[in-house]
């Protein structure tokens, strides 16, 4: 076959035989990979489409801001407050861990600490819910604070790893310049390194909050004992929250309840998608800025 094609330089250049088979196999593989990507996007679009179409009818000013049964204002407030308190607990610790990883620890310590963070990240959220129950609810009864505590443990590794990645991007030349000026380590960390990375740290925190705000498992164990008829501000009482209420309605099997649940799903999905898409875009921007400088 090769001899024939050498003797006939003007012969057809289309591949034949074995090569043709290999190229078809490659083309089939490419198509399947593309199909896999399309499938995943289709699943995302389908879920969000359903939530939007079925939930849009419920959305109104009253639904968002009034108390139950007209609206779900207390649940919305509770979800935001639980997430906020969890973040206030997790963020300082997470950022300090990130600083320890980038500024202080040796290679061995960093490896151990990263392993710990990965293990924390891998803990199922229901386990953290059980933990918060033992640590808090057993003694004080249900409360939003117990839920916040579980969410803080979920957020901690995300914030620490995210901040660490941003801190690593802070150019070494900045640290060296500050060392050359004879500035103490802690001053250069607080006044040079942290401010440079601040944007990235905040956006990775927002990403962690977006992830935690939709967590349900810790909350149904620790803050499910509410009726939603009043706004609750005290975190040491059971706080109404959206995920638990959606779960409750989905278990009840009542069509009007389903409609409410779709409406709440839409609110939750909207908050989470907007904040995580926004944070992603900002993170990409600040990463680009840091790596180019």
């Amino acid at each position: 076959m090769s001899a024939a094609s050498i003797s006939q330089p003007t012969g057809p250049l289309a591949p034949g035989g074995n090569l043709r088979r290999r190229q078809i196999a490659s083309r089939v593989a490419e198509l399947m990979a593309t199909a896999a990507a399309v499938l995943a996007i289709a699943a995302l679009v389908l879920v969000i489409y359903t939530v939007v179409v079925r939930g849009a009818g419920k959305i109104s000013f009253d639904f968002i801001f009034s108390t139950y049964p007209t609206g779900v204002g207390p649940m919305l407030l509770g979800t935001l407050e639980i997430a906020l308190i969890g973040t206030l607990m997790a963020m300082p610790i997470g950022v300090l861990i990130a600083l320890y990883l980038t500024e202080y620890s040796g290679a061995k310590g960093a490896r151990t600490l990263k392993l710990v963070l990965d293990l924390l990240n891998g803990l199922p959220s229901i386990i953290l819910g059980l933990f918060a129950f033992i640590a808090f609810v057993e003694y004080r009864g249900q409360s939003g604070f117990a839920g916040s505590m579980a969410l803080a443990i979920i957020e901690l590794p995300l914030i620490a790893r995210g901040s660490q990645e941003v801190l690593q991007l802070v150019p070494g030349s900045l640290r060296e310049a500050s060392d050359a000026l004879g500035i103490a380590r802690w001053r250069s960390v607080l006044t040079v390194v942290l401010p440079t990375a601040l944007g990235g740290i905040i956006t990775s925190t927002v990403l962690a909050v977006a992830r935690a705000a939709g967590e349900t498992a810790p909350l149904i164990l620790n803050s499910s004992n509410f009726d939603g008829k009043t706004f609750v501000l005290n975190p040491f009482e059971p706080m109404p929250n959206i995920p638990t209420w959606i779960y409750k309605l989905s278990e009840e099997g009542n069509p009007e309840g389903f409609n409410e649940a779709w409406g709440m799903s839409l609110i939750l999905v909207f908050i989470i998608l907007v904040s995580s898409l926004g944070a992603r875009a900002l993170l990409a921007r600040s990463t680009r800025k840091l790596s180019s400088s």
């Binding site: 990507a37 389908l46 861990i97 320890y100």
Partner: protein, 330 residues
Amino acid sequence: MSASASAAPRAAGRGTRVSPLRRRGDRFGDRFLLGICLAAALVAGGTIFLVGYQIVHGASPAISKFGLGFVTDTEWQPNFGVFGAGVLLFGTAVTSAFALLLGGPIAIAIGLFLTLLAPKGVGAVIGPLVELLAAIPSVILGFWGLLVLAPFLQEHVEPFLHDHLGFIPIFGEPKTTGLSLFTASLILTIMVIPIIASITRDLFRSVPVELQDGASALGATRWEVVRGIILPTTSSGVIAACILGLGRALGEAIAVSQVIGAGFQIKSSLFETGNTLAAQIALQFPGALTELHKASLYYCGVILLVIGLTANLLAQWIGNRFGYAGVVAR
């Protein structure tokens, strides 16, 4: 900064020397910052131990009553004080394995698509979108599974599979509700895909371009580059990614409890109801009355914790090995 401002004139007067006051302040500041950073790191480590200790402590009545037999015992009757996690372990294993078998290849294919096939602009859109799949709260995914996916599967997919592949025992007679191990597996598949896809994408990107170009120059087709270069150099990392995905699937409680139907028997068909360890905790813990019932649910948590931590450690270990291999390859 205020301390340095007050010290500045004196420092200027003595040339470049720093005032002793400021030096002492700096020494304290350095120690203090290192101290609180270290303390934060210890909090992270302590949290893991505390979680493990508390869960085991909560489970201790059930552990001392049922022993290891709890793991294989299939009776779960709260009214009679009889508890065994056999059915739950079975359901957990089946749904997670199925999710991984289905989701793993899809996710790896997406990773390949994003690294090799997608034009830059398209990849920059699709990559984050796939990751967004992980951002959908599990309660909403479960709710969607309950009202949209389960009826659809029950009406169309399950009868089809039963008619054509019914000779395989896992594709038994469809039930009336659509709540089944099968539906739960598919929901878990959706949750596993973004995790594995984003890790494998980063892995595939790390494969040296020279190797790929070399293979192409020798006449390899794109698929042959993938099979001969990309997959072999990243195989251990891909396995680690799959184990991480498995860990996620094992521990998912909410979405699974919404669509699995809370069955309490081991059956061969995927279209039957079942239950998992995590889902059982979510379903029964809020209403658990006796101490033994609670302790048994904590025991389920202990099993989950052991499996989850093992899976994670295994993934990290394999991943570290890959890290060294990658360094050597360069």
